[in-house]
Amino acid sequence: MQEVEITIEGGVPKVEVKCVKGSECKRLTRELEKKLGEVKSDKPTKEMYEQTRQTNRVGH
């Protein structure tokens, strides 16, 4: 399942994508972000770092 949560507070939208792997994540919200305005910041979530750490451990 793909999940996108948009929270808008003080006129500032925050778009959060969950449960989407790889480049699909960015593609999923590209159009929405463009329609809302200009992206001020874009950060990978903790979930992404956890995936990265797991990958490193397997690699060693």
Partner: protein, 153 residues
């Protein structure tokens, strides 16, 4: 991979704005080139991102449904040359009923004038439209001082 993007909201979609207005008991009047206000500027307020248009002049306007005494919101071109509009309005005396429609009520707190509730619902309507177009099931709801749009597929 998951990510979080924070966005500087630009008001560019009049259809989404009209839906947000309708939800809040307001009406967007496309092509109304003046908006109702006190009538004499005392220089106490102007939207920072709006062009310096003569007061009371706009490209479109938002009025309060069923309250002809209420002041109105003007949609004025952005000052930075980017597409879209800034919202300008007179908040004196609560805009005679306008502010309570576009601001969140925080009991006992003195707030700076804003149109946060209207902007939040505008962004929610834009998000609903786009995510439905992408095949998501969408649910939008009001929370305390904010709006959330949940999308799943």
């Amino acid at each position: 991979m998951s990510h979080v993007a924070v966005i500087d909201l630009h008001i560019t979609d009049l259809d989404s704005l009209a839906k947000a207005c309708d939800r809040l008991g307001l009406e967007l009047v496309k092509g109304q080139t003046t908006y109702k206000w006190y009538g004499v500027s005392v220089g106490d307020y102007r939207a920072l991102d709006a062009v310096k248009a003569p007061d009371g002049i706009c490209e479109h306007a938002i009025r309060v449904k069923g309250n002809p005494r209420a002041y109105e919101i003007g949609l004025v071109k952005r000052s930075d040359g980017k597409a879209g509009w800034s919202l300008v309005w007179d908040h004196w005396a609560g805009g005679h009923g306008l502010c309570e429609k576009v601001m969140y009520s925080e009991r006992g707190k003195r707030q700076k004038p804003n149109a946060d509730k209207l902007k939040d619902w505008y962004a929610a309507e834009v998000a609903k439209k786009q995510m439905r177009r992408q095949g998501f099931r969408v649910n939008a709801y009001q929370m305390e001082g904010k709006v959330r749009v949940s999308c799943r597929k």
